[in-house]
């Protein structure tokens, strides 16, 4: 097996409180291989977003990563990067699509200006070069280049989400983190976007860390899945195995609380 693009070892994260600390992530370890689609599932408050933020060191106090924790991206410990190294690391190595990404575009700048911002800051590109690269990137997500002159409010929610993804791919990151990227979109658009991501990661070779509470969707798109419960990673396996023969009691209960679209309905008392 090739060396993992992301390797998390014994990650412990506390939220520091006045009286007591709250351990949000408890001794979590997992790897993501290059090009792999890894899903992290769990309910609100289980620590999945805390992990996503920690990987790009976007966590803020009162969150505190405990010593002994390791987050290796391509073999390099993210927790030891200094300020400059961290700036070079973000976006170039790991890019992140946030939960309400469609609202994370700057409303008073054109789409082109937002691409230029990234390409100029990280690669020192001129306006012309950035425009050309931005048009290429938009093409990846099926958006015509004439949209570069548009403002975010002139684009639909699904389109804005695809633009954010295109900006994230601007520097060819090795890992794309997506924290509930399609929660605010309806299912038809959601499918279009995830199909697009799937094609792109196969073509460009980046790995994906996909965070969602939609378990059906997760099984459909992921190669491997990790299930989190109250800060602990309780089960990791390939998507089909974890769906067809879950080992952990909590995973079994999660599947049992998903209503089915066809065939026998789940037992009504299952989730009560």
């Amino acid at each position: 097996m090739s060396a993992p693009v992301l390797s998390i070892r014994n990650l412990n994260i506390d939220y520091i409180g006045a009286e007591a600390n709250f351990r949000a992530v408890k001794d979590v370890s997992f790897d993501i291989a290059p090009g792999e689609f890894f899903g992290l599932a769990g309910e609100s408050g289980c620590g999945k977003s805390t992990i996503a933020f920690a990987v790009s060191r976007l966590h803020r106090p009162p969150a505190l990563i405990r010593t002994g924790s390791e987050i290796l991206v391509d073999g390099r410990d993210v927790l030891e990067l200094d300020k400059d190294a961290l700036r070079r690391f973000r976006w170039r190595e790991v890019a992140m699509v946030f939960q309400s990404a469609m609202n994370s575009l700057n409303p008073v700048l054109t789409i082109e200006a937002q691409f230029y911002d990234v390409l100029h800051t990280h690669k020192g590109m001129s306006r012309e070069a950035a425009r050309e690269r931005a048009a290429e990137l938009l093409k990846l997500v099926d958006i015509p280049p004439d949209r570069l002159a548009a403002y975010p409010h002139q684009c639909s929610g699904g389109m804005r989400q695809r633009i954010v993804i295109a900006i994230c791919l601007a520097l060819n990151p090795k890992l794309l983190i997506m924290d509930e990227p399609t929660t605010a979109l309806d299912v038809v658009v959601q499918r279009e976007i995830l199909q697009r991501i799937d094609v792109l990661r196969k073509r460009l070779g980046f790995a994906v860390l996909f965070i969602t509470h939609d378990l059906g969707l997760m099984v459909q798109v992921s190669d491997r899945i990790g299930i989190m419960l109250e800060g602990e990673l309780v089960e990791v396996n390939d998507a089909q195995t974890i769906y067809r023969s879950p080992q952990h009691d909590y995973t079994k209960r999660l599947w049992a609380s998903m209503p089915k679209l066809h065939g026998d309905q789940i037992r009504p008392e299952a989730g009560a």
Partner: protein
Amino acid sequence: MSENQPILALDNVSKIFGRANQPIYAARSVSFGLHAGRTLALVGESGSGKTTAARLIMREYHPDEGRLLFRGEPLGKASAKAIKAYRASVQMVFQDPFSSLNPAHTIRYHLERPLRLHQRQLGRAERRAAAEALLERVKLDPKLIMGKFPHELSGGQRQRISIARALAVNPQVIVADEPTSMLDVSVRLGILNLLNDMKKQDNLALLYITHDIATARFVAEDIMVMYAGQIVEWGAMDSVLDNPQHPYTRLLLAAVPDPDRRFDAAQPGELEQIETIRRQAALPQKDIQQVGENHFIRPIPDMVIG
């Protein structure tokens, strides 16, 4: 009243926004009935007109065309007083349990207020007892919950309070607009089961509005699929889900996450095809075609059935 007469019916109702020379139909010729002891699911994507339908039922909007019938009686433009009386029969549960409860008031206030407004004959002690009974119905402990504020409760508990509040006035119809979409999967079923139990105990007519078709199948006997203000396909739940006839319904069902089906990449031309289906499904369509025992569609031109 005959057995088959719906408690509440929409008869060819349209709601039009925009200017007269450029009307936008948020709902176009919508007809359906809500029956006692039954749940009807209304599914569709954002902007399809689901919430407009709910607002028409709640009489927050007055229909621009068509009419509402309550127990067979047509409802016209009504005074504020008549609408208040109507809302004692038709109640709503909202999507967001975090914003639909007033953060400045206790749970007791939330439950006693509808009783004070709609059942004025009740004395103070009776109101108290009624509020406690309501909490017990939604399986919450009055001793623990009654004095709490909304922020002290979980999302699932808050949604139970919303249901209790709706039940306070002994309604005949409940409209639930995405009641579980903001809750975790493990508490969703509890809320859906609760709605179902209430429906059976009180012989309620329930309209369940959602974009989550799997939960619709869990609670409802019948389903309507809405797109661009029109109901494009409707009928018995399993007939529609297992044998969808309208191209938009097929598109919607194919996009629903299903762990039993591996995700495949979009075929060449698939996105264009989706656009074509959307464009055609949005055209006004008067014809109705029966495609099953209790299963209907509004066909789009050149549609092949089967």
